[in-house]
Symmetry: C2
Subunit: 332 residues, 2 copies
């Protein structure tokens, strides 16, 4: 048996969920691949813990909950430390920053730059610098995987890239933002106006105090850009996505927020969907509708956010990276 040594960067909801999932699922990885994951370093925004022999994942979660920190205060930047640390795979889970993609961008470049595989849930680097990162990964023979960055637990990226390889993918339409879909579903089903529907979403924890990122379509535009780049082979950023949010939308207007990616480009806006159509779902699910030449249409839906849901997507990528490395030999 061998281990895949991972550095976890970002120890908020997603990072903690991934640590717990590693604890829960290591026996599945071992049964299936003969390999386990060993956490050799974990970083939150200001502290870190590192041990070549491996850190106990549940102990990290407990420590973070009890003390609000993982260990020692950092002196260098995480990116600098990732250049010298010894690990096989970076799991990057810092929050999305849509202005300059930092610090996630620097973390991912540091790992890929020294030939390490990267798994990330962070939309920023992918929505702003996709092609640069994909090229760097290819040049250095690394995996760059990001199922968790779009649609939470929904396996849309891996499905399109691994199960639909023989298909020509003509377009991807999706309900990519659970907050918008919740607000619009409530407005449509209960006939309540926008403002109370938004407040309800905030009370239930589906929308932030400042909901701009969701309701102005920025989150959806990031996801649309990532899908356009990863699945349709385009080379665009979030700024290339035509975007119409749902802020202040009135009851007479359309009833679902839909995002669309075709080979011509990507667009985000509310759209009218007939009942009974596969895109007609209510609530906070994410949903993707892929048109192809042979299969015709394939729809995949799942929970778009959440601690274990996002961890689920990260673990799918962990499994694949371990499987690929197992068959081609461990590095170092």
């Amino acid at each position: 048996m061998t281990e895949m040594d991972v550095a976890l960067v970002g120890f908020g909801t997603v990072g903690q969920g991934v640590a717990e999932a590693i604890a829960t699922k290591n026996h599945v990885l071992e049964q299936s691949l003969g390999d386990k994951v060993r956490i050799v370093a974990a970083f939150d925004s200001s502290t870190y813990a590192a041990d070549k022999k491996g850190l106990d994942p549940l102990d990290l979660v407990k420590r973070k909950a009890a003390k609000g920190k993982l260990g020692k205060v950092r002196k260098d930047s995480i990116a600098e430390m990732l250049k010298t640390l010894d690990y096989d795979t970076l799991v990057e889970m810092t929050p999305t920053n849509i202005k300059d993609a930092q610090p996630g961008l620097a973390h991912i470049k540091a790992a890929l730059g020294k030939g390490r595989d990267v798994i990330t849930s962070n939309k920023g680097p992918l929505a702003l610098k996709f092609r640069e990162l994909a090229n760097l990964a290819e040049k250095n023979g690394c995996e760059l995987r990001f199922e968790a960055s779009v649609g939470g637990a929904t396996p849309v990226i891996n499905m399109a890239r691994e199960l639909l390889v023989c298909e020509r993918i003509c377009s991807i339409r999706g309900i990519m933002n659970g907050t918008c879909n919740f607000i619009l579903s409530r407005m449509e089903s209960e006939g309540i106006p926008y403002e109370p529907a938004l407040r309800e979403a905030q009370q239930m924890g589906f929308a932030e105090a400042d909901p701009s990122y969701d309701i102005d379509g920025i989150d959806s535009a990031c996801k649309a850009a990532i899908l356009a780049n990863a699945i349709m082979g385009l080379d665009i950023t979030v700024h290339d996505v035509e975007r119409t949010g749902i802020r202040g939308i009135n009851l007479d207007a359309v009833n679902l927020a839909l995002q669309e990616v075709t080979s011509r480009g990507a667009e985000v806006s509310p759209r009218l969907i007939p009942r009974g159509h596969p895109l007609s779902i209510s609530g906070t699910l994410n949903l993707f509708h892929i048109r192809t030449d042979l299969a015709g249409e394939i729809t995949v839906a799942g929970r778009g956010a959440g601690r274990y849901e996002t961890a689920s997507a990260v673990m799918a990528d962990v499994y694949t990276v371990m499987k690929l490395r197992g068959s081609t030999g461990q590095r170092d």
Copy 2:
């Protein structure tokens, strides 16, 4: 560049669709894997063509359309010929026979028996002899793949087995029969009774003249048994599935035909689904709703039947077998 030599058995709608898909997609396989598919033999129910140097797939389709046959009349059974023929992979697409699974069962056993990979769209052998075939494949180091046997183009089996490896799958619910769903959708949306809805399905080509296989839930029960075996690790046959069809169902009754597989067993019956639920779709689509421990719930839907749709699922398996064989070395 190398070739994967395939024997196509069954040259009806699905077989012809696969031949056309091979012609259309060989360049994609070559680009992606450096390998192509070569058809070295093709069988319809009474004739065959064989050529070690490869048969032109579109020529086979033309010949079948023009003359109703592929070539010479067979003297031996296909199963006997599959024991002596030289090929890497059997693609088995004869019609489902739910009584004794023949002749598909004999074909698959002949190929696996001599260490050849098998890809099939035929539900019969899988719904009646799953564990025997899976064990034979494992013993002889062969792939046995059958995405096309459940849900047409919908990649439910490969998604569950390859993308959700780290998940504990608790249950699978699905709308597994497009004919039933079409009839129930028409009854529910238009308020028309069962008989005219069935006639409409027959006129539109969604239901056979003898619709028993669909409306009595046999088709769904086969699919439920295959999913239970392949994804949940059960060891059941179609006869173990509790089954309630929709024959003569009245308007007051429930409005969707739902199949369910849990670790306790499998069941087929009409069920009531709320609007806006991911399982609430109308028309002839197939849909599968998978509950897991981390992801929570994942839904995948697609076209449940059709020439190119079924070929799409076969091609996905062709790709994977080629990829696996490419990384472990061609046999022979």
